[in-house]
């Protein structure tokens, strides 16, 4: 008799638990009108580029409402880092955004160097700039090819990956990693540039601008694509600011804000380059900004290649990294926008609290604002133009 009761209790418990576990539906099904229906885009969907779920309320093909459900691959990096020594966190920052890992390394390295008061040698700064710009090109090339797939053009990916392979080979030669580079150390680098880096860089810069022209002729200037993207997903300047949108997505809305210019870190003030902006803030402007940015990155690379001095690549850094108590926030312009690292140090060899401010997090939150009223195909096009990387949203 007693045993039976226990079983029953367990059963009811289980039921309660499952009820608790169900995710609250963002749209009440009873309130839908006869013409409306719910469509789940994701968690596994070809165009969400990761494990992201977009719940759409549709009327025919028109999006009436939208709800972004994130957190499927939450990795709790911030909690993990509280249990790691400062040196160990560097490879973790790679994994936030595996497409522009160098920039993420940089933000973290900057933060710790600022806490420790380390100034790094000039040659190391130049190498950092070069790696970061190569990384930006690499990320934008992947974005371009993925965007081609999103809008149904299957050929751009092949051309873009041809150039991307060159870039990856260069970064791999320097750091040893192809995607998760773990490139930087506090104070500079462990290894100098590899032999032949300058030659391959020169070769790459030599032909890359022609390739960008080809990319634009193939996809960006195509009349089908311009018809699909011009005037779609208009993000106004005010909305973008309020939502904390950064990076190319913000610059598409006629905001000349680029942390490399507005709040120069490292030696970016030495380089001559333009902040590319769009006019209308629509999807096409965001695409164009990224294409132009690749050209500007090539310019920076050229200047860095010419101006790189000889010398040390590593500053004097204490063996044990133990910053003084205090807090620091450093940010860099990654391929997707402002990536910031906020560290609170309590004087031990582990950070007391570390917070990563990731650009995609804010960029995704604006999706609801700009996608309502467009078509299903537009949601895909807009999402692609925001260039989201899911692991940095689900930090």
């Amino acid at each position: 008799m007693k045993a039976k009761k226990v079983v029953k209790d367990q059963k009811t418990n289980k039921k309660e638990k499952t009820e608790n576990m169900t995710i609250k539906a963002p749209f009440e099904l009873e309130k839908l009108s006869n013409d409306e229906y719910i469509l789940n885009m994701g968690p596994q969907h070809p165009s969400t580029h990761g494990v992201l779920r977009i719940i759409l309320k549709l009327d025919g093909e028109v999006v009436k409402d939208l709800y972004a459900d994130v957190g499927y691959i939450h990795s709790s990096v911030e909690k993990m880092c509280e249990n790691k020594k400062y040196e160990m966190i560097m490879p973790y920052t790679d994994r936030l955004d595996y497409l522009s890992a160098v920039n993420y390394n940089w933000a973290y390295a900057l933060a710790v160097e600022k806490l420790m008061g380390i100034t790094i040698p000039e040659r190391a700064e130049y190498i950092r700039v070069m790696l970061a710009e190569l990384n930006r090109i690499m990320s934008h090339l992947l974005w371009y090819s993925a965007y081609g797939m999103d809008v149904g053009a299957l050929t751009p990916i092949m051309y873009a990956f041809r150039e991307r392979e060159e870039v990856i080979d260069m970064i791999e030669g320097m750091t040893g990693g192809r995607l998760t580079h773990n490139a930087f150390r506090f104070g500079g680098f462990k290894n100098d540039l590899q032999k032949g880096f300058m030659d391959s860089l020169k070769k790459f810069i030599g032909h890359f601008n022609d390739k960008i022209d080809e990319y634009e002729a193939l996809l960006i200037n195509n009349v089908i694509l311009t018809a699909r993207t011009k005037g779609v997903g208009i993000l106004s300047k005010e909305t973008a600011m309020s939502y904390g949108v950064t990076g190319p997505s913000l610059r598409g809305s006629d905001c000349a804000i680029d942390l490399r210019k507005t709040a120069p870190y490292s030696i970016y003030d030495k380089f001559d380059f333009k902040v590319c902006t769009g006019k209308n803030g629509d999807t096409w402007d965001r695409l164009k900004v990224r294409m132009d940015e690749m050209r500007e990155s090539t310019k920076i690379l050229k200047q860095a290649m010419e101006g790189i001095p000889a010398g040390d690549i590593m500053a004097k850094v204490p063996k044990i990294i133990k910053p003084a108590p205090g807090e620091v926030y450093t940010k860099v312009e990654s391929a997707r926008g402002e990536f910031g690292v906020y560290i609170i140090s309590d004087g031990t060899d582990k950070p007391y609290r570390i917070k990563f401010r990731s650009p995609s997090f804010s960029n995704l939150s604006v999706l609801k604002e700009i996608a309502i009223g467009s078509k299903i195909a537009d949601v895909v096009a807009i999402m692609g133009s925001l260039d989201l990387v899911i692991p940095e949203i689900d930090r």
Partner: protein, 351 residues
């Protein structure tokens, strides 16, 4: 020797002789003649089926190789010499795969949809003029028959979309219906201008009207371009592949299909590509007309020329959006086709 030459260059004559000869023997046995016709029809059916399957195998391989060329890669090159047996391997794989039937499907429409899509494709081969006299049935409403039959495909796609009980499939099915219905009209107008020029809807007459290299592509260049675009849209290939737009609708109307049922869709898609090209070649490029080579060879050369253009378009352009698709049809294709028809009519009247 003479017979073989005749068979290649003027297939109609020896085939007709064979037919009357067989009928003579059949009558000598005292059997009813319709039975012999039935046997002949079955033989023709089997021959057409053979052509369909072999052609689909080849055209899929061709598409993959051509796309590989454009995408600076190598394409299939592992199975057989130059990867020629790749499609056969794929077919075998699809045949022995598990046929998954989701729980909540509408069984009838789910099962019957692949067949509905495939049968019209098959039936259109009836009026394709492969060579001089080599046409399974030379109907005097040949081209009308083609339009009527190909229009049936939409029912299959709709049935697949509805029967799958999947929202992606349903959207795909509905998109396809809208697409095919709105592109049917410019298609008909373009074909009508060709019919005006040739003065007949019979396929053999249309080819005959283009004898001595008076191909309709020259007076009807706009018509030909419109035909290519509209034909591409009718067979749901990129950039008009909205019903199965994989980045939006996962796989559209065939999301839930697997194994042989999926293979039917695949087969139908590529056969449709061949058909549209074949009709385009017949209407605008003089069909089997050509010097030296046997007519059937010319027919395939011209058809594959059109196929190549369509593939080239497919592997270059991004996908069009659904409302632009409608807009494009009604705002651009229809007026142009109509204008083309009117000008053709006026010119014919004047000359």
């Amino acid at each position: 020797m003479e017979l073989i030459k005749e068979l290649f260059y003027n297939s109609g004559k020896p085939l007709g002789e064979l037919y009357t000869w067989a009928h003579g023997i059949w009558a000598g046995w005292g059997a009813p003649p319709f039975l012999l016709d039935l046997i002949f029809q079955i033989i023709i059916g089997v021959a057409v089926a053979l052509v369909v399957v072999l052609n689909a195998l080849w055209i899929i391989y061709y598409d993959r190789k051509l796309s590989a060329l454009m995408q600076i890669r190598k394409g299939p090159n592992r199975v057989g010499p130059l990867g020629l047996l790749q499609t056969i391997a794929d077919t075998v794989k699809l045949m022995i795969k598990e046929d998954i039937n989701p729980k909540a499907i509408d069984v009838l429409s789910f099962w019957v949809a692949p067949l509905i899509i495939f049968v019209p494709t098959f039936a259109v081969f009836l009026v394709l003029p492969f060579g001089k006299g080599l046409i399974p049935a030379d109907l005097n409403i040949g081209i009308l028959y083609v339009i009527a039959i190909t229009g049936l495909t939409v029912i299959g796609i709709l049935a697949a979309g509805w029967g799958s009980n999947n929202k992606y499939s349903l959207i795909g099915g509905l998109r396809s219906a809208a697409q095919i219905v709105s592109y049917e009209i410019p298609m008909m107008l373009v074909i009508l201008s060709v019919v005006l020029l040739s003065g007949s809807m019979k396929m053999s007459d249309i080819v005959a009207a283009q004898a001595n290299y008076k191909w309709f592509v020259i007076p009807q260049i706009i018509g030909f371009i419109v035909f290519l675009i509209v034909g591409n849209a009718e067979i749901n290939r990129a950039p008009f592949d909205l019903p199965e737009a994989e980045s939006e609708l996962v796989a559209g109307f065939n999301t839930e299909y697997s194994a042989m049922k999926f293979a039917f869709f695949y087969l139908a898609e590529y056969t449709n590509l061949f058909l549209t090209s074949a009709i385009g070649a017949t209407l605008f490029l003089g069909g089997w007309e050509g010097p030296f080579l046997p007519p059937i060879v010319w027919f395939f050369i011209k058809t594959y020329f059109v196929v190549t253009i369509l593939m080239w378009i497919r592997w270059t352009f991004p996908r069009i959006r659904v409302d632009h698709l409608m807009e494009f049809s009604w705002k651009y294709m229809l007026p142009i086709a109509l204008l083309n028809l009117v000008i053709t009519a006026i010119v014919i009247k004047l000359v």
